[in-house]
Every structure is written in C-alpha cells, then in structure tokens.
C-alpha cells in the first residue's frame, strides 16, 4: 500500500484523520444557519461561495459531549456520496503522510462498530490517529 496523505484534526483531545484526497477544503468557523432537524443529525447550513452545504458536528456524530464553538473551530468540507458536506472539528492539527508500516490492522478491533467508519489506525510520532472512512461518517449519526 502506498503512503496516503491525511488531514489530521482533533475531537475532545483525540486525533482523527481523513484522507486529504477526499477533503475539499478546510474552513474557519463561521456562523451556521440552523435548520429544523428531524433526527438526521444535521447542525445547519452554511453558504460557501454561493453554494449551500449542510454541516454536521462530528462530536454529535461520534456521541461525544458537545462543546462551545470558538473562532478556532474548523469546518472540513468533504464530498460524501457525491454531495458536499461540512464537518465541524475542534482543531485542525496537521496534514501527514502515513506510511504502510505506521498503519494498524482494523481486524483487531472488536466487532459491532459501525461499518465503513474506521478505515484504520495510524501511529505517527507516538500519536494514535483514528483514520476515518468518509462514507461511514454520516451513517453513525443516522443509526
């Protein structure tokens, strides 16, 4: 397997990674227009250069405690099933290249976790990074 570039961010002190190739853009925090929500987990919408895109809070998605938003929060814009969505993260940390030997096997994880969510575990500079599969991110909130 080749080296892959990951955008690394933090949620509640824990490092998570999304493939850079699947990341469209990282935005600074901006006001979110809330929408009437009926359990889809969508936080609201923002306008990005004339286009409207829905925003999800990853804390809510991963069942972590919600926190106050600051100006240092970021919205990571990705494309899921052909749609652009924004994901709110606590902090953007770095863009790293994870070598195959730095990857951990997913099979060692216990069964029953949401499918397609965890693509693997990377270990970089003694930090454990949860590598997320972009297709499984939004399933967790829905389930």
């Amino acid at each position: 397997m080749d080296t892959v570039l990951y955008v690394v961010f933090t949620l509640n002190g824990q490092f998570y990674g999304i493939e850079a190739a699947q990341t469209l853009e990282v935005l600074g925090f901006r006001p979110i227009t809330p929408l009437p929500d009926q359990g889809s987990g969508v936080k609201g919408v923002i306008s990005l250069r004339g286009a409207i895109l829905p925003v999800f809070d990853l804390r809510t998605q991963f069942g972590l405690p919600a926190g106050e938003y600051s100006q240092f929060h970021v919205i990571i814009v990705v494309e899921v099933a052909g749609k652009r969505v924004g994901l709110i993260a606590d902090e953007i940390t770095d863009v790293v290249r994870i070598l195959p030997e730095e990857m951990q096997e997913v099979e060692s994880l216990p069964p029953g976790l949401p499918p397609n969510l965890i693509a693997g575990l990377g270990c970089k500079d003694d930090k454990l990074i949860v590598l997320l599969g972009i297709d499984g991110i939004l399933d967790t909130g829905k389930s």
């Binding site: 570039l5 955008v7 850079a20 190739a21 990341t23 469209l24 853009e25 990282v26 935005l27 600074g28 100006q71 240092f72 970021v74 953007i92 770095d94 863009v95």
Partner: protein, 764 residues
Amino acid sequence: MTHNFLKRTRMRVKFLLATCLVIGIFMSYTLYQGIDFHTKTAMQQVEESSRLLLDNTYSAMRFPMSIGDSKTVEEQLKGIGEHNTGVDVYITNSERKIIYASKEGYRHNTMDNYLKEDGSREALENALLSGTEPTRPLVDHMRGESSMVIIKPILNEPSCHHCHTDFRPVLGAIVAKQSLKGLFASINAARNRLILCSVLTLFGLVVFIYLLFVRLVSRRIGALKLLSSKVAAGDVTVDVHDDHEDSIGKLTNNFNTMIKSIRDRIEYANSLKLAISDPFFTVDTGMRVTFINEAAVRLLGLPADGVLGKLCQDVFQSDACDGGCPVKHALATGKATVGKRMTLRDRENREIPVMSSASVLRDSAGNILGGYEIIRDLTVEVAAEQKLQSAYRREEEAKEALETRVRELSAILERAAHGDFTTRGQTTDANSAMDVMTRRINATLDGMVALISQMKEYSVAVSSGVWNISRENDHLAERTQQQAAAMEEISTTLAQLVTNIRENLTSIRQVDSLSKDAVKVAEDGRNLVEKTAQAMGVMSEKSLKIAEMMGLINEITFQTNLLSVNAAVEAARAGEQGRGFAVVAEEVRNLAKRSSSSAKDIDALVREITSSANTAHQWVDKVNEYFTKIVQTSSQVSLALEEIKFSSEESAAGMAQMNKGVLELCDVNEKNTGFAEEIAVEMKNLGDTAEKLKGTTEMFILDSAGTGVAQPARGGGRLAAIPLDLGEGPAPRPQLQGLPQRLLAGVDAEGGEHDKYDNGFKEF
C-alpha cells in the same frame, strides 16, 4: 281383804293363782259343754231309736189291727219286748188304758201307772185329744229309774173305720218307754274320764306356764329387785346385764343407764366436794361428821381416819359449838350462814382464827339430810392485820419525830433569814431522808456562809479593780495620743506617694510623643507602598494589552495554518502536478507551526508576568494594611497613655480623700479622749458602790471564829487572780503618752499638708 291379800302375796303366787283360775274356768266350761253335748247326743240317739222302733211297731201292727187280729199284735209286741231290752212298748186306747203291751203284766192297766211325771201324762193326754206328737222327748222317773217316753198317737184312718167308725179322730196312742239307765251309766263314765283328763291337762298347763313365767319373768325381775335393793341401800356399783330385747331387757338396760347416771351424779357431787380447797366437812342431822376433806384434816392436825361418825363438837372444839354454830343455825332455820368468824382448836390445842360458811344438805324432796361447813383459815390475814397495825404505830412515831425535826430545821432557817448563820441542824446515825435533808440544809447554810464570805472578799476586789480601771483609762488617753502621731507619719507617706505619681506622669508624656513619631513614620511608609501598588497596577494593565495582541497573533497563526492545510489538500488533490505546490504548502505550514509555538511561549510569558504583577499587588496591599495597623496601634497607645494620665490624676484625688480620712480619724481620737474621761467618772461611782456592798456584807454573822473578811484563807487562792488580771490586762498594749496635745497638733499639720498635695495634683 282381797286387795290386801293381792298386795302382800308374792308375784309368782299371784301369777299361779290367776293362771289356775283362768284355766280352771276355761276347762270347766269346756268340760260342761262336752258333757252336755255328749248327753244330748246320747239322748237324741235314744229318742231316734225309740221313734224308729215305734214307727216300725206301728207299721207292723196296722195291718193285723185293721183286720182285728189281736193275737198277732200281741205276739209282735211280745217279740219286740223280747228283742229290745230296756224298752217297753204300750198301746193305749183313748182312755189311756193299755190294750197291748210288750210285757204281759202291763195289759189292762191304765197308762198312768207307768207314767209318774205330770209332764208325761199331760203330753199323752194332749196327744190323745189332738192327735199331735209331743215335740220334745219326755223323761219319766219311776222308782228311781229314768226312762225316755215317746208318744205317737194312732189316728182314725179310713182303714179303721170299719171297726171304730169315724167319729173319733184319735183311736189311741202307742207309747215307747226306753230305760235310760245304761245310757246314764255310760255318760257318767265318759264324764268321769273327761274330768280326769281335764284336771291332768290343767295341772300340766299350769306347771308349764308357771315354769315359763319363773324362767322368763320372775327370775329376771327378782335379780333386778335384788340389785335395786342394793342401790336403795346405797350401793351404786352394781352392774346388771340382760341381752333380751323384750320389755324386761329394756327395763334392765334403762335401770343400768339410770344407775350409771346416778353414779355420774354422785361422782359429780364428789368432784365438787373434792374440788373445794378450803377446809370442808358435812354432818348429818345428829351433828355427826359424815365427810371431812384433806384441807380440814390438815388444818386441825387430825388423824386421817377415825373422824367420820364422831360428833362435830368433839372434832372441832370451837368456841361456837356451845352457841352460834353456823351449821346448827342452818339446820334449825334451813338458811345458809355466810362469813361467820370463830376460833377452832387443833389437836395441840392451838387457837386457829377462821371464817366459816354453812348451809344445809337436802334430798330431792327438800328434806334436810344434814349440813355442811366451809372453813377459811384466817391465820395469815390476822397476822397481816397485826403487822399492819404495828406498822401504822411505827409510822405515827416516825411522823412525830419528823415533825419535831422539821420544826427544828425551820427554826434554824428562820434564824438564817435574819442573817444568823451560826446554828446548824442535828443529824442522827439513821441516815434517813430527814438526815440527808438536814445535811443538805447545813451544807446550803455553809455554802451561803462561804458565798457571803466570798462576796465580802469580792467587794474588796471590785474596789481595787475599779481603781485599776481608772488607772488604765489614763493609759488609754496616752495611747490615743500615740495614735495621732502615727497618723502624722501616714500623712508624710502619702506625700511621698503623690511625688511618685507626678514622676510617673512625666514619663507617660515622653512615651506619648514617641508613639506619635512612630505613627508619622508608619504613615510615610504607607504612602510609599501605595505608590508601589499604583506602579504594579500599570504593569498589570500593560500585560493585559500584550495578551490581547497575542490573541491577534494566534488568529493570524491559525489562519496561516488553515491556509497551509488547504494548500496541502489542494496539492494532494492536484496529484503529480501539485507536488511543487505541496512543498510550498508544507513550508508555509511549518512556518505557521513555528509562529504558533512562539505565540504560545509569549502567551505563557505574558501570563507569568501578569500573575507576578498580581501577586506583587497583593503583597503591597498587605504591607499597606500592616502600616495602617501600625498607625492604628500607635493611636491606641496614645489613647492608653491618656488614660494612664487620667488614672494618675484620679490616684492623686484618692490621696486627698485619704488625707481627709486621716483627719476624721483624728476627730475620733479626740472623742475617745472624752469617753475615757467619762469612764473615769463612772469608775468612781462604781468604786463607791463596791464600798457600799462591802458595808452590807459586814452585817452577816457568819460564825464564832470571825467575819468573812477575816477568812481570806478559804477563798484567797481564787480571789488573788482577779486583781492580778485587772493589773496585767493593759500590759501588752503599746505605751502611749502625751496624747491630746500631740493629736491636735498632728491634725493641724496634716491639714496643711493635704492642701499642698491638692495643689500638687492640680499641676498634672
């Protein structure tokens, strides 16, 4: 006569006679009846046989007669006469003439020759006239021989009419004459046998009944009679037993019960008699002793037996025997005598005073059987009475003696009342209550003599004591003067004290100014600290501004980082074409990282400075606080010094008060001097009174030896202590001299000093 006989004869004779009589009557009657019956029966049989013979004869004759066959009739009758001995048959005509007869010789005789009895003749005549047979058999006695006569009339029947025609109803009669000689002989024989049998039976029966009576009644009653005779004679110890259930048995049992009851009663009476503990005896009407109990025997010392039956007079030998004997009186009048006093004589002829009660003994019918007497020995009582009388006499004597002695004592006491104590009561060796009293009175008089003597001595002592007190009173005045001197010394000491207080005040003033300087220095320090605090505040403000600027730097760093990330993302998406751009993006990102870490360091430094400034500010505040406290404390010290000053001033005022007090004491001293003078006057009066007392005691006459004053030896030992006490009393006290003048001078001097001190206090 008969009654007397019945009363006198014995029971069994009476019973025998009665039995004989009854059985005899009964047997006679039975015998008579038997003989009578036997005779009648025999007669009846004879009659019947005669009639039968007659009827047979008649029926046998009818036919021959009807045909006039006289011969046959004759023969037949002859045959009858031959075959029947003792029987004669006659056939008469209507004129009672015998036509035919069973015996040859009787023919042609009249029937009257063979019928002697009138009754028989009448019956024949009647039968011939009327043709009826006599209803009862007839007995005819002829020539000492009895015979039965049966008459049957021969009626004129139709068969007879041919000869006799029919104008006569009765033709004649046929008469049978049966001799009763044999019959009577047999009857007599039978009667004799019967009588013999009856007599024998009677005898046997009587004997049997008599024996039975003797066995069942007479013998038992006889035994009972014997016992009752014994009882009547006074022997009640008999006991009879009879287990029969009949009346005699019950009678015997009742008799037994009766005897037992009598025995019980006798025993009861005896018990009563024996239960009398006083001497007791009974006599009969002839005054012979019938009973005497143990107590009486003991009282008189009599022999135990040989008294009974003797004359009462011989036994008791009383003075009352010749007249006034209670028993005789009781026997004569039938009334009891109670509590009669008399004298008895015992065997040794000693007189015994007694009290006796007597009464009569009666039987159930109320007849007097004798009398009895209960005696009570009064020897002890009489002795007691005599003792009592002698005791009374002794008492009287003692009383007189007592009165004599009481009179003596009262004379002595009267003399003592008039002041003469020289006489004393006389005592005896008897040691009686009177002696004790006399001794007590003597002792009292002695005691009074001693007391008066002591009083005399004491009055001397009082006089000397009063003198001593006067002397001591003078001493007291001197001591009061000494007191005044002491007070002067106190005033001097007080002045020294005031000086000391004044020096104290000066020292307090110096301390006060020093404390005020300290306050000023403290306030300067506080101002400096306040300035420092202001500088620190400025530094804090600047630090805050640096912090704000750090926020801006952080934001820029953030944005830069974001930009570098986006660049990296974009380069990654661009693939091979973006490789160069990726390098740039990475450089930018590293730059952003470095600036971010620098910003963080600066931020940490600024925070440190701010916190240090804050800490410094706090310290400055604390220092400021301390300075404030120093200032406050200094002020308090100043205030305290002020208070000390006031206190000292008040002490000075207190000293003035004390001075005044000392002056008042001086006044008191002066008054004490006055009191001492008054005491001196009173002492003089007391001395006079003591002299008077001494004069009074002189009038008592104590004894011949001398007066109380002349007897110092008795009370001297005790009295010596009194003047000694009075003399030594003031010895421990401090000697004071020259009191009044010094006292007044001291007061004046102190008054001056007091003013001076007051002025001194006012300086403070």
